[in-house]
């Protein structure tokens, strides 16, 4: 029982490492093998995660609209998404004649690589993190800006006016909302005094920042969720692919697996954004602790850290999916007004308040 409770992914990782170290003597070969294993298992994890998110999205959509959703293929419709993937696999990966073939085929790859690279610094469980880079938060916001290049590339190379319009809309949207995302991330960096995601999680040992930081941190949490929904082009900010106006936006010309790669990167982005929000504001893998109440904290520690991480992440994913079926899509001018006239000034003032709070030590 004791072993079961203290068991975490990190002990499994150590076990695999020791096993491999016995088999492979050359340290460099060992390193390369481990990197390959990590990469393959990460990709497998992400693909399965995207299956699950696709299914979850349909069920949540159905729930919000009081209908059943997928319910025929497999138990409760859970194999629907597998069937869809098989359908996409069998479709022809069409490249239009007048498209720029090289960039057309490169764009989905860049999108997927860009979103997968952001996974690196995320801590999935206690001591279980691919790369605790000391500029974690900055790395996340830097690498996630690669996605916009993929969208612009896809839009231009399709040689289609709808694609180009969608790409330009999404470019303008991502570039503007990046500011609010950055400022709300900075507010947590100011409080925890570190950019590394591992340190930020450890700084929440006596309570999550959303509780310790009073109302200003709640404001920046709300701003982060809104602005990052816009960053990943999800409804109500899905102007880039607004179906009614642009027949699909930047991915109008894509079919088959190339289209599936856009879907894949969209779901990975959704997961990454939620995981970052959970890590920074809700404590990542840190159990729910209240400073001083040792007995209570100890009981909370019995729930494994990975369960904490994933339940927080999926809570935020659910909220973002909820948005999609609640708010109508914004017009372009409303979109820019929301960012430049409301979110940006609010988050600037908020950062100043949080800085004062951090200097004076008013947070818990």
């Amino acid at each position: 029982m004791k072993i079961l409770l203290t068991y975490s992914f990190s002990s499994f990782a150590t076990y695999v490492h020791n096993l491999l170290a016995d088999l492979i003597i050359n340290p460099m070969l060992l390193h390369v093998t481990e990197m390959v294993i990590t990469g393959v298992s990460l990709i497998a994890f992400l693909v399965i995660l995207c299956f699950f998110l696709g299914y979850m999205e349909r069920r949540v959509a159905a729930f919000m609209e009081i209908r059943l959703g997928p319910n025929r293929v497999g138990p409760k419709g859970s194999l629907q998404i597998v069937a869809d993937t098989v359908k996409l696999l069998l479709k022809e990966g069409l490249t239009p004649d007048s498209a720029d073939k090289f960039l057309f085929n490169l764009a989905p790859v860049i999108m997927v690589i860009g979103s997968m690279m952001v996974i690196a610094p995320i801590a999935f469980a206690k001591d279980f993190q691919l790369y605790d880079i000391n500029i974690g938060v900055l790395y996340v916001s830097a690498v996630s800006s690669l996605g916009v290049i993929g969208i612009l590339m896809a839009g231009w190379s399709s040689n289609n006016k709808y694609s180009l319009l969608g790409a330009m809309r999404s470019g303008a949207q991502i570039v503007s909302y990046e500011l609010s995302v950055g400022l709300s991330l900075i507010s947590i960096v100011v409080l925890s005094g570190s950019l590394s995601l591992g340190d930020i999680v450890r700084s929440q040992e006596n309570g999550w920042w959303i509780i310790k930081g009073h109302i200003p941190v709640m404001i920046s949490f709300v701003i982060f969720v809104i602005a990052s929904t816009a960053e990943i082009n999800r409804a109500p900010f899905d102007l880039a692919e607004a179906d009614q106006e642009l027949t699909g936006g930047f991915h109008t010309e894509y079919a088959g697996m190339k289209f599936a790669m856009f879907l894949l990167s969209e779901y990975i982005n959704l997961f990454v954004v939620s995981a970052i929000a959970a890590t920074l504001f809700l404590g990542g893998w840190m159990p729910f602790h209240i400073g001083g109440l040792d007995g209570f904290n100890h009981i909370m520690d019995f729930i494994p850290s990975s369960i904490w991480f994933f339940s927080k992440t999926f809570l935020i994913i659910f909220i973002i999916m909820w948005f999609r079926w609640t708010f109508p899509r914004l017009r372009v001018d409303q979109l820019l007004t929301l960012e430049w006239k409301y979110l940006l000034p609010i988050s600037m003032v908020n950062v100043i308040i949080i800085t004062v709070m951090a200097i004076m030590g008013w947070h818990l």
Binding site: F102, M153, M168
Partner: protein
């Protein structure tokens, strides 16, 4: 040859190859994308040297900012789908000469410069140290240039707002 050297040569090939393709590509949008690869290679070089902060700033500023701006201005101004005109023979010759002389100049500089390893103790390039150094008012602090640059940026911002303002129509 160790893995580190192999990685260095791959990065160097990406940087130089991207740069050459950027100036020889027929379509201007492709040039922008090749420039992106070159800049990515430079960011990779910073990662290779363990300057993670500067690498991330390189990605934020050049890839997330400048390349996106370049692509936008191409979309807004240029017939981006058409091939660019072939340059005149004269301009090819002149630019080739410029490249040759610049290369010769840089190579001679590198050859004549004796690289002496610094004896000062290395400072860890962490964000904390960079921030302290940038905002310190002591002897080797960078507070003055930092403030001057921020004034310059502020002036540029105000200038662009003034240009973009609609003139008030006289009633």
């Amino acid at each position: 040859m160790s893995a580190s050297i192999v990685i260095f040569y791959i990065l160097a090939a990406v940087i130089i190859g991207g740069g050459i393709l950027a100036v020889t590509a027929k379509k201007i949008f492709r040039s922008a994308i090749y420039l992106l690869f070159s800049l990515m290679g430079i960011a990779g070089l910073y990662f290779y040297l363990n300057y993670e902060f500067i690498a991330a700033v390189q990605i934020v500023v050049y890839i997330g900012g400048i390349v996106v701006l370049i692509i936008f201005s191409i979309f807004l101004t240029h017939a981006s789908g058409k091939d660019m005109e072939k340059p005149k023979l004269m301009s090819i010759i002149v630019s080739a000469l410029a490249v040759v002389f610049a290369c010769a100049f840089v190579i001679s500089l590198i050859n004549n410069y004796s690289f002496v390893a610094s004896t000062n103790t290395a400072i860890e390039p962490t964000v904390k140290n960079i921030g302290r150094q940038m905002l310190s008012t002591t002897e080797h602090g960078f507070i003055l240039p930092f403030e001057v640059v921020s004034m310059l940026l502020l002036a540029a911002l105000i200038g662009s707002i003034v240009i973009a303002l609609k003139p008030k129509t006289e009633a």
